[in-house]
């Protein structure tokens, strides 16, 4: 367990993040129509290439770990598959046939398909057509009543989970004849022609679903909603209600992204700017600990100094004395007493703000992306990566299933 690595890649939000298979490169979009590929040299990231083919904002990027291809999708309703050549990355247009923005994209585990969610109330499942040498898509339309906000693939390469703005999380079959072999029966179902609905789940208070994730085995589905809830579903089999459907109502602001690190642990992150670990089983789930707890006072010293406005270091001049600062704080920020210099959250779920106006967490704005970064030899996730609207890319260590975060946080503590 060590202190998180923080990299400031942009001053604005990062809208798509994807690491290369060997983690030496990262593709991000700085909230515009370009995708930038950074390469790691020592401790810093260096801009290597810019992929400029889209006309509008890029909403998501996915990098296939084995075949080393990148797919980007954008609000211009297009997706491109980029293949590396000697002269750089070469784009190939995908025939998505959607009439609204594409919102999310993900390669399937076998990397022979990818799925694109869109505002056109459709999911385009794309596969390569050898005859015509282009990517074609098949649409899942049926029960979707609103924008698809997130997708995730089941490890069997056939099932697809989607979270939508109609406050539902769905599980579909994305079986494509000629590409997929007949899948083994799973808890989600045994006969799976394209478009079969294997599950449909709501959030407890009707919040739209921001993100969905399958557990490593694919037997458990978790999703986060805008009603500050985390829900975990254990299906029992086709046609019967799930064995367990657990919803946790959180005191904090809603989560935007989540990922499983093992069958019994998941990490969610969102508007409260810190990744939070949940643990449990089919008997029940609960909030476990935060990877970046501002009340334990550790992470502030980790923020990079290169960016943003920092506290003015007491320069010369009589206007810098304590009393003056006190009144200036009261005037500009409404801070009335000096006693709350490291203000603990005054009520449950509020982000703590330091005297300099910066958050006490590593991320200074909502976290929009979280994904596993590194696995140990037994297949457990040891590091996760997050990115957010503050333009920071952070790599966190996760103690395998145990709340052993304290020593790590103490290590980063500046006394």
């Amino acid at each position: 367990m060590s202190a998180p690595e923080v990299h400031q890649l942009s001053l604005g939000p990062l809208t798509g993040v994807a690491f290369s298979p060997d983690r030496s490169q990262v593709a991000v979009s700085p909230n515009n129509n370009e995708a930038q590929i950074y390469s790691k040299t020592g401790d810093t990231w260096e801009l290597k290439q810019t992929l400029a083919e889209h006309d509008k904002l890029i909403t998501a990027i996915s990098w296939a770990p084995q075949t080393n291809r990148i797919v980007t999708c954008s609000q211009d309703r297009n997706a491109y598959v980029w293949t590396p050549t000697e002269s750089g990355w070469k784009p190939a247009l995908v025939l998505l046939r959607i009439n609204r923005a594409a919102t999310c994209v993900k390669w399937s585990p076998n990397e022979d398909k990818f799925a694109v969610g869109s505002g056109a109330r459709t999911i385009a499942v794309c596969s390569f057509d050898e005859e015509n040498n282009w990517w074609v898509s098949k649409h899942v339309k049926k029960p979707l009543r609103s924008t698809v906000l997130s997708i995730d693939w089941h490890p069997n390469n056939v099932l697809l989970a989607a979270g939508a703005a109609d406050a539902k999380a769905y599980v579909f079959s994305a079986f494509i004849k000629g590409i997929d072999a007949k899948p083994e029966p799973t808890v989600w179902g045994d006969r799976l022609p394209f478009g079969t609905i294997c599950g449909e789940f709501s959030t407890p208070n009707g919040g739209w679903v921001h993100d969905v994730a399958f557990s490593p085995s694919g037997d458990v589905l978790a999703y986060v909603g805008h009603d500050s809830s985390v829900s975990i579903v254990y299906p029992s089999g086709p046609g019967s209600p799930p064995t367990a459907h657990i919803s946790i109502r959180c005191p904090a602001l809603p989560y935007l992204s989540l990922t499983f690190t093992s069958e019994s642990q998941l990490i969610a992150a969102g508007h409260d700017c810190q990744p939070v670990v949940f643990t449990g089983s089919s008997a029940g789930w609960a909030h476990s600990y935060s990877l970046d707890d501002p009340s334990s006072g550790g992470s502030k010293g980790l923020t990079p100094t290169a960016t943003g406005s920092r506290v003015p270091s007491g320069g010369p001049g009589r206007l810098n004395n304590e009393a003056f600062n006190l009144f200036r704080q009261a005037d500009s920020k409404g801070v009335s007493s000096r006693s709350n210099s490291v203000s603990a959250p005054s009520s449950a779920g509020m982000a703590a703000v330091g005297q300099d106006g910066q958050l006490l967490t590593v991320h200074q704005n909502s976290i929009t992306f979280i994904e596993p970064y590194e696995w140990n030899s037994s297949g457990e996730v040891t590091k996760v990566t997050t990115a957010g609207k503050d333009g920071r890319l952070v790599i966190w260590s996760v103690a395998g299933g145990k709340p052993g975060g304290l020593s790590g946080r103490m290590g980063g503590l500046h006394v």
Binding site: N205, S228, R249, A252, S346, A348
Partner: protein, 143 residues
Amino acid sequence: MSEYAFRKIDIDAPRGPAGALSDAKAKSGEVRGLVSKGDIAGALNLILTDPPYGDGVDEAKNLTSSAVLLILNSTRTAEIPNHLKNLDPEQQDHLMAYLYKAMGTEGHGGDVSGSVLLTWHEKLTEVAGVGCIVRVMTDRRTL
């Protein structure tokens, strides 16, 4: 398609509008009794469990809202946090929804003052967090 028949059941109104109304009447009567005996905790617990929810039960909703307001008005400020801590998360969400509803009708002949609502709102946010507010704002079904 028989396996989808359960989707047609309106889970928000298991007993229909008439049943919801008679339930609401019985409950608000009971709440009045509890409040006059000074049992605020019992009254809150009763009225915030399975409140009328969804379409077509407006009359029941209004009855329940005024019963909630009666409780809010007859509680001493110092006792509020203790009562709130004894509610489960779902009841806390419902209470927050009633607070916002009352704030919305404030000044339209409502019988509750803004300061009472704001006190309850402050204490409830301290106990249940901002997540509770987000849930009320997000939910399109009303109480």
